[in-house]
């Protein structure tokens, strides 16, 4: 997929943008310091469109907020594409030079008219048109997105629909224009870099590429499996099918974080053996047969992480790990020894050097350089290479530097799997609050005066119809289960939509409600779109 692997642009380029599409991202709360860069652009006069079902705190900084219905992103993106083409605002020269599949794309989006998209998304056609024109005509434009795009059953299609827009207008591969997916966790990018994805070796090299595999086999002195592995969601399917019987979980808390969490817990507890390596006694760890206490990566051990702008940076030990907690490297090394492989006691630096010898995009990042600089952005092929602020510059090179042209993709609008019904008439979507993080295991550790709490946000009009008041405890049900929550009246979300965070599983198991329909290509579940019903706990309060 074009645009895979990492954000094409740097934060500094976002500052220089003339136009920003903030798509399915509440960066103000989920990526606050990235948003500082966005705000610099806005303060300098950049126009910003926020595309999000909720009028989030990020959207409030936008010139226009387009509150599309949950799961209609492709309809909107394809309609923009159609409008750009119809108005003749696409970059013909760039398309001819650097892309393939334009005609098929153009023919496909032909049916995505503004009026049709307006009907699907709930956003007036005029606004879609204006946004399409603004994007196509801006000198520098950035599309920024987060989980609002990826936590859907058709996540990959969502992403490529946005990539199509960049290809259509030439807003990629040059300084100032690009596509920025924001990583939700501090080292999601780094995990991918290091090959912690089922089908890749470090440096995004395919495991089923024989040449690549041979290189790794030679270096590791062992034979490697060339069959791509399973991503998380497939693993759960395999558990269900009884094919996967043992699990070694490092730094994840699936017993709280998976969609349809009750089901996930059942599967985890049915395993033959569950090993959990974590810095916390998480819910998953509590279910484990063996718990391996790890040191806190960013404060108790040395290593690297990679940010959303592909910047590899050093983390360093500042305090000793408590009790029996140990560095992940030592735990894994010992485990290997018990399994009969002696990997010695490599230092983080030695491991890094081994990795960069095998991963061309990291080769130039010596440990000394990482120490001395504020990080280096990959690809960085040699030690005299400064690192790369943006990707895909080859799109603009005369000979495409030997690359195949970037393909347009044909994507189809497909509404959320879970349709609203009379029984479950409200849409529930989830997201983050500023001071909290994921399932709250880390962020619960400090006394935040601004906790958002475990409430469910409901539009005041809906609440009035349901007869529920601000602060009232209600029963929220989805086809998978029910939880009790407090209602919070929230005028910033449209009618028909409800919202909650997922930071407080000990208070509310919101993921009991969420839908585990997932994208077969990315393995991400559709956290963003469940159908729910809100009912009063006590329909007829007893007279006092």
């Amino acid at each position: 997929m074009f645009g895979a692997g990492g954000g094409t642009s740097s934060y500094a380029e976002v500052e220089a943008a003339d136009l920003i599409l903030l798509w399915g991202s509440n960066a103000r709360e989920a990526h606050p310091i990235f948003f500082h860069h966005v705000l610099k652009a806005v303060a300098d006069g950049a126009r910003m469109y926020a595309i999000d079902p909720r009028r989030t705190s990020s959207a409030k900084f936008a010139d226009r907020w387009l509150g599309l219905s949950v799961g209609t992103d492709i309809a909107l993106a394809n309609a923009m594409g159609r409008e750009i083409i119809a108005a003749g605002l696409h970059d013909r020269d760039f398309i001819d030079h650097a892309t393939s599949g334009f005609d098929a794309y153009a023919a496909h989006v032909e049916s995505y008219t503004l009026d049709w998209a307006a009907e699907q998304t709930g956003v007036p056609a005029e606004a879609i048109r204006e946004m399409a024109h603004a994007y196509a005509t801006a000198p520098n434009a950035q599309i920024l997105w987060t989980l609002g795009i990826t936590e859907h059953h058709n996540a990959v299609d969502n992403v490529v629909s946005l990539c199509n827009l960049a290809l259509l207008t030439g807003h990629v591969g040059r300084w100032g224009s690009g596509l920025c997916p924001l990583r939700g966790q501090n080292n999601v990018q780094g995990g991918g870099d290091m090959g912690a994805i089922p089908n890749k070796f470090p440096g995004f090299q395919d495991v089923d590429d024989d040449e690549v595999r041979a290189k790794f086999e030679a270096a590791y002195g062992t034979e490697l499996n060339g069959v791509p592995g399973k991503h998380l969601t497939l693993m759960f399917e395999a558990m269900e099918a009884g094919e996967l019987r043992a699990c070694y979980v490092i730094g994840e808390n699936p017993a709280d974080s998976e969609a349809d969490v009750e089901h996930a817990r059942k599967l985890l507890s049915g395993l033959d053996i569950l090993v959990v390596q974590d810095i916390f006694m998480t819910r998953t760890a509590e279910m484990a047969d063996v718990v391996l206490p790890a040191s806190v990566a960013w404060a108790e051990s040395d290593g690297t992480v990679t940010s959303s702008e592909r910047r590899v940076q050093r983390v360093r030990a500042a305090v000793p790990p408590p009790g029996q907690a140990r560095h992940d490297i030592d735990i894994i090394g010992d485990l290997a020894r018990r399994l009969g492989c002696d990997w010695g006691h490599p230092s983080p630096e030695e491991l890094w050097d081994e990795m960069r010898a095998l991963s061309p995009m990291h080769t130039g990042m010596s440990w000394e350089r990482l120490e001395a600089t504020g990080g280096i952005q990959w690809p960085c092929g040699s030690e005299d290479h400064p690192g790369s602020e943006f990707l895909h510059g080859w799109l603009w090179a005369d000979d495409l530097e030997g690359h195949d042209p970037a393909p347009f993709s044909v994507t189809h609008h497909a509404p959320p799997k879970e349709q609203l019904s009379d029984e479950f008439p409200l849409r529930l979507t989830t997201g983050r609050a500023l001071d909290s993080y994921n399932t709250g295991v880390q962020s619960g550790g400090y006394a935040s005066p601004i906790r958002y709490g475990d409430a469910i946000d409901v539009n005041p009009t809906d609440a009035a119809e349901l007869g529920v008041a601000d602060g009232e405890r209600v029963l929220v049900s989805s086809p998978r289960g029910s939880v009790e929550m407090d209602v919070r009246l929230q005028p910033d979300i449209p009618t028909g939509l409800t919202f909650t965070t997922f930071h407080f599983p000990e208070l509310v198991d919101a993921n009991i409600l969420t839908n585990d329909e997932w994208d077969p290509r990315s393995g991400t579940s559709e956290f963003k779109a469940a159908a729910v019903r809100i009912s009063k706990l006590d329909p007829e309060p007893a007279p006092v």
């Binding site: 806005v42 303060a43 006069g45 409030k60 936008a62 226009r64 907020w65 998304t121 007036p124």
Partner: protein, 588 residues
């Protein structure tokens, strides 16, 4: 543009209605526009276009309920998308805005405690106001020094502000004098009638300017040698040329009608009695500099002048003298009035811009200068109304005729504000070069004991001269040589009965109260200077160490302050010390 957070406080219906009315009459809609349930328009440019309506909105709240309440701030914050903390920061900057619930019912009676009113006995006035059951608030000069002690009534509950003395007929001491130039229409033409203005030569200058063209107008102004009358005496021609040279951005003409220098009231009288002249002159400035936007920033304590100017603007616009193709000159020009809210510093040109723009009235560092970075950061010609008034005759009669009055380096005539112990306090116009003694004679001589002790020249920011200065020729060059200033035209006389220590301590207190507080030399220096003088007053003498300290403090205020307020905060004090008016026995 922001995700502003509003606390739980909500405005009352009365407050909302007052804000809505103030904004609606100015054509302002809320920054955030819900177009449908799923489409909102807002954003930085909508927000920036509306920020300057903060001041009118705060005025509306203050006038409606007598204070700026948390709920009121939240309402304004929401409509204009201004963070409540900033709105509070702005409201709390101004004397005319209260940020605590009023401790009294009804209007607020502001009594001036500055020099002219001090020696005229403001205490008696305050006592009589109190006796009538009204609430007295003591404050700085109200710009009515010729009718000291002065009173200004700030309305509440929707009642308008007023000045009781405005009910009395206006008298110009020099009425009927054929030599008057700037004041010749005053008391002659009805200030509320465009017809009367036209009948007395009004709008001939603009017509002439339209024929001459911008370049020729600017040349005449430059050749006339006209310099600014707001205090700094900067050559007007140079300023206008710099603005005219700027292209590609909107440009502004601002009339600085903040007039808050203690002892100054000339602009008020001109605005009240000849408002069309100010409007016409501004239009000429717009034509010459290529600016389409005119702004009048007028101090909040001038209700009559505000009403007359607004009336003049409305009448002029209706008659085609303002608006598109103003008076057939081919140039678009219109004027809006913004009211200040009680802060001397807002007369400083860059503080004025900040105040008008809806920020705290804190001066900006210069450079850059207003000619390139003025109002809204855009090229701006800012002038005192008296400066502007001179332009009319320069345009109609030419630079040479203008230069036939005054001196080579101070051409023309000057408006002077005579107050304190003189026989006939009031506004006078004399050619530059008139001596101080002759001027005092013109104003009926020294009153009280009849024996002159000192004259305060140029206001609190100016300096004292002694009785030996009666031969001083009132020109820019002579006053500079003599180590004093004409400043804004204040000539305040003190006879031998006045306790000058009281006067000087009050001047020091004035600066302490009026410092914006931004820069350290002035914020702390003005306080320490006042404290030192209070100590002197208590002890009856100033020790040599403290005398030295005053000079040391003065030096840093002059050298390192951001703006003219800090630069001049010690000048009257030091002149009083060196003249022996305070600190030691006068006869040494």
């Amino acid at each position: 543009m922001t995700d502003i957070y509003l606390g739980a406080d909500r405005a009352t219906e009365l407050e909302e209605a007052a804000v809505d009315a103030a904004l609606r009459t100015r054509g302002v809609d809320p920054v955030v526009q819900p177009e449908t349930e799923r489409l909102y328009t807002s954003g930085r440019s909508r927000r920036r276009e509306r920020r300057h309506f903060l001041l009118p909105a705060l005025h509306a709240l203050q006038n409606a309920v007598g204070w700026i309440s948390p709920g009121g701030v939240n309402y304004v914050a929401e409509v204009l998308d201004v963070p409540p903390a900033e709105a509070f920061g702005v409201a709390s900057f101004y004397d005319l805005f209260r940020t605590e619930p009023p401790d009294h019912e009804g209007d607020t009676f502001h009594v001036c405690v500055d020099a002219a009113c001090q020696i005229a006995g403001y205490d008696d006035l305050a006592a009589s106001v109190r006796a009538s059951g009204a609430h007295v608030h003591f404050g700085p000069c109200l710009g009515q020094c010729e009718r000291a002690p002065a009173l200004f009534v700030q309305g509440c509950g929707g009642r308008p502000d007023y000045v009781p003395a405005d009910a009395e007929p206006f008298v110009l001491p020099q009425a009927g004098n054929p030599d008057l130039r700037l004041l010749r229409r005053i008391g002659v033409a009805d200030p509320e009638s465009l017809e009367a203005y036209l009948a007395h030569g009004g709008y001939q200058a603009l017509r002439r300017a339209g024929q001459m063209g911008a370049e020729a107008v600017m040349e005449a102004v430059a050749d006339s040698g006209l310099s600014g009358r707001g205090g700094a005496a900067f050559p007007t021609g140079v300023k206008w040329r710099a603005v005219a040279a700027e292209t590609g951005r909107p440009k502004h003409v601002v009339s600085n009608c903040d007039e808050s220098e203690p002892g100054t009231f000339k602009d008020r009288i001109v605005m009240e009695q000849d408002p069309f002249a100010v409007i016409e002159a501004m239009t000429i400035a717009g034509l010459a500099t290529g600016a389409a936007n005119g702004w009048i920033y007028i101090r909040g304590e001038y209700p009559l002048a505000t009403a007359r100017l607004q009336g003049a603007i409305d009448a002029a616009r209706a008659a085609g003298f303002l608006g598109e193709d103003a008076a057939g000159t081919g140039h678009d020009f219109d004027i809006a009035i913004w009211r200040g809210a009680g802060a001397y510093i807002c007369g400083e040109e860059t503080a004025l811009f900040n105040s008008l723009e809806g920020f705290r009235g804190e001066p900006r560092n210069k450079p850059p200068f207003p000619t390139t970075h003025g109002l809204f950061g855009e090229p701006t010609a800012i002038n005192n109304p008296e400066t502007l008034l001179n332009v009319l005759d320069i345009v109609t009669d030419g630079a040479d005729a203008y230069r036939s009055r005054g001196t080579e380096r101070s051409p023309g005539t000057k408006l002077l504000c005579l107050s304190g112990k003189v026989g006939r306090p009031g506004l006078y116009e004399v050619p530059f070069g008139t001596t101080l003694g002759d001027l005092l004679e013109l104003a009926g001589g020294v009153a009280g004991t009849g024996e002159l002790q000192a004259v305060l020249m140029g206001g609190a920011a100016g300096s004292f001269v002694g009785p030996d200065s009666l031969d001083l020729r009132l020109t820019l060059e002579d006053t500079r040589t003599a180590g004093t200033t004409l400043g804004s035209g204040v000539v305040m006389a003190f006879d031998t009965s006045v306790d000058m220590t009281d006067v000087v301590v009050r001047i020091a207190e004035f600066f302490r109260d009026e410092s914006c507080g931004q820069c350290v030399p002035c914020r702390v220096g003005a306080v320490r200077q006042h404290e030192t003088l209070v100590q002197m007053q208590k002890r009856g003498a100033l020790s040599p160490v403290r005398r030295e300290l005053i000079d040391e403090m003065a030096e840093v205020m002059v050298d390192a302050s951001i703006c003219g307020l800090g630069h001049t905060a010690a000048s009257a004090v030091r002149s009083a010390l060196s003249l022996g008016l305070i600190g030691e026995a006068p006869s040494s």
